[in-house]
């Protein structure tokens, strides 16, 4: 468990042997999904084997970054002091065009205006030298 001092800092992803490539791509503004060449399964997040067939014949392909809000929740009470200044913010479960879902949060929109099936696209938010977080904004037409 973290100290009180640590609780004031936002948790940072620490890329590991499985996920290094994913975070490298995000740093360049690209969301990569893994496509299994043996069973055609498409997966988010990165790992060294296919979750379906356990094969290792995975190819990275850049995703469109577009999807729909499958579900969401607007956070008014922050999970600890690190997120207090951000409230209210909308956490979303996005279903990507390619199929996989991912958790993220919204930018460029009032939290209360987020809704089911909203069309969204990924934008990356650089947070330090190594990490850019994948976040989503409404697709404006």
């Amino acid at each position: 468990m973290s100290s009180l001092q640590q609780a004031h800092l936002k948790p940072m992803p620490m890329p590991d042997a499985d996920s290094a490539e994913l975070w490298k791509g995000l740093k360049e503004g690209k969301l990569f999904l893994q496509h299994c060449q043996d069973c055609n399964h498409i997966q988010y997040y990165h790992q060294a084997i296919c979750r379906e067939c356990l094969g290792e014949n995975l190819v990275e392909k850049e995703a469109s970054g577009r999807g729909l809000v499958y579900s969401y929740s607007v956070v008014y009470r922050a999970p600890g002091p690190a997120f207090k200044d951000d409230t209210p913010y909308a956490v979303v479960l996005v279903e990507l065009e390619e199929g996989p879902r991912m958790i993220s949060s919204m930018v460029d929109v009032a939290a209360e205006d987020v809704g089911f099936d909203m069309k969204v696209e990924m934008v990356v938010e650089p947070v330090n030298d190594e990490i850019s977080l994948p976040r989503f904004r409404p697709i404006s037409r």
Binding site: Y70, V91, S104
Partner: protein, 392 residues
């Protein structure tokens, strides 16, 4: 056909609780020890009779081996022990596993125990952060997901797909508050209305403050033994009739569905082993970290059809006299929620009901109870079915 079963092989012969709610100045180990002393007295045993111990995690005293730390604290040297960690589902897994261990001779008398001081032993900001840290550091936590949020997103989608209303969610909180009011020692005892729930502060939509469970201190303990030894027990033995578990995902975004959960499979396995159906159950302890959780579980445990949980609650079916009275003590929402021991309190209430000692909250003629424990944004599920001797 595989005929191996824990049905009727082991029994709960002792149950105990520590002071509950706000218990300042007492450690998780003390709370667990107090509950253990009461459970031993209830079973008519002494500490030296315990040769097995299973415990859950404590946030305020995060020992890697809570069961071993407690063994030292109360001066016992068990020959079977573990600390289980499947979040909120831990409680039921301990009963199911203890029954199997007793049947297979790994121990004679197993202590099932949990203790935590989430309210008094942790700074509130650290308590919030500690619960959040059970989410993944790479793909969930950076986005500021409260423990409540994964449950909120599932309930939200359930509302969209099935028309479940905020009022139906609120009704769960109101019913359980009414139960807590009638339970001595409950943490929350002021009456509330549906309006009160809906006008309480929004925490993470669709959940208002009163849709969320409490943060509490408390310890809970049980003694289990084999069915043979239970016959000579001081208390009325209550038999484990069936158990099931199901684990569908670690990350919410990889859940096969967020509106239908692993509780379907977990309870199906438990019903099959017990040889009973949802209609046979007299009392249910349903994990109630949030109001919407209860509505979804009523469906997945088979007490009503998928999507009908809201109207089922609205019709009063989970109250005393309804189709399936649940959480007659007030549950995590209004009685007490000290973390992992919280779901053990559903078992404590089931024991009271099956012993006929629930006083004004008694379900008449209760012989068969189901307890469902779950956790981690519906990632972990475990079900236990318990019955009196007439159900054997």
């Amino acid at each position: 056909m595989d005929t191996k079963t824990i049905r009727g092989k082991a029994a709960i012969i002792g149950a105990g609780i520590s002071p509950l709610g706000k218990v300042p100045g007492k450690s998780p180990l003390w709370l667990a020890a107090q509950a253990t002393k009461e459970a031993l007295a209830d079973a008519g045993l002494v500490k030296g009779d315990i040769d097995g111990i299973l415990s859950g995690h404590s946030f305020a005293s995060p020992f890697h081996r809570f069961s071993i730390a407690l063994s030292e604290y109360i001066g016992i040297t068990p020959t079977f022990a573990n600390n289980y960690q499947v979040s909120g589902a831990t409680a039921a897994t301990m009963f199911n596993t203890a029954a199997a261990a007793l049947e297979c001779g790994l121990a004679k008398n197993i202590l099932i125990v949990g203790g935590d001081s989430m309210l008094s032993g942790l700074n509130p900001e650290l308590a919030m952060r500690a619960m959040t840290e059970s989410r993944d550091q790479q793909y969930e936590m950076p986005f500021g997901i409260p423990a409540a949020n994964t449950f909120a997103m599932t309930a939200h989608r359930h509302m969209k797909d099935y028309g479940t209303t905020p009022e139906q969610l609120a009704k769960v909180a109101v019913i359980q508050r009414n139960n807590a009011i009638k339970t001595p020692g409950a943490q929350m005892t002021a009456p509330i209305t549906i309006e009160d729930v809906l006008s309480s502060k929004m925490v993470t939509s669709p959940y208002h403050k009163l849709d969320c469970s409490l943060i509490s201190d408390g310890g809970v303990a049980f003694i289990m033994t084999s069915a043979d030894r239970a016959k000579d027990s001081k208390s009325k033995p209550l038999y484990i009739l069936g158990g099931g578990e199901c684990y569908t995902h670690e990350h919410l975004f990889l859940a096969p569905s967020i509106v239908s959960t692993g509780a379907v499979q977990s309870s199906k396995n438990a019903y099959k082993m017990a040889g009973v159906t949802p209609d046979d159950i007299d009392f249910a302890g349903v994990y109630d970290c949030f109001t919407g959780t209860v509505i979804m579980m009523l469906e997945d445990l088979g007490f009503c059809k998928k999507g009908e949980g809201g109207p089922f609650v609205e019709a009063g079916e989970i109250e005393l006299g309804g189709k399936i009275p649940i959480n007659t003590h007030g549950g995590l929402l209004s009685h007490c929620h000290p973390g992992i021991p919280g779901s053990l309190l559903h078992f404590y209430e089931a024991v009271k009901q099956l012993r006929g000692r629930a006083n004004q909250q008694q379900v008449k003629g209760a012989e068969l109870a189901l307890v469902h424990s779950l956790g981690a944004g519906f990632a972990t599920h475990a079900t236990t079915i318990i019955g009196t001797d007439v159900t054997l």
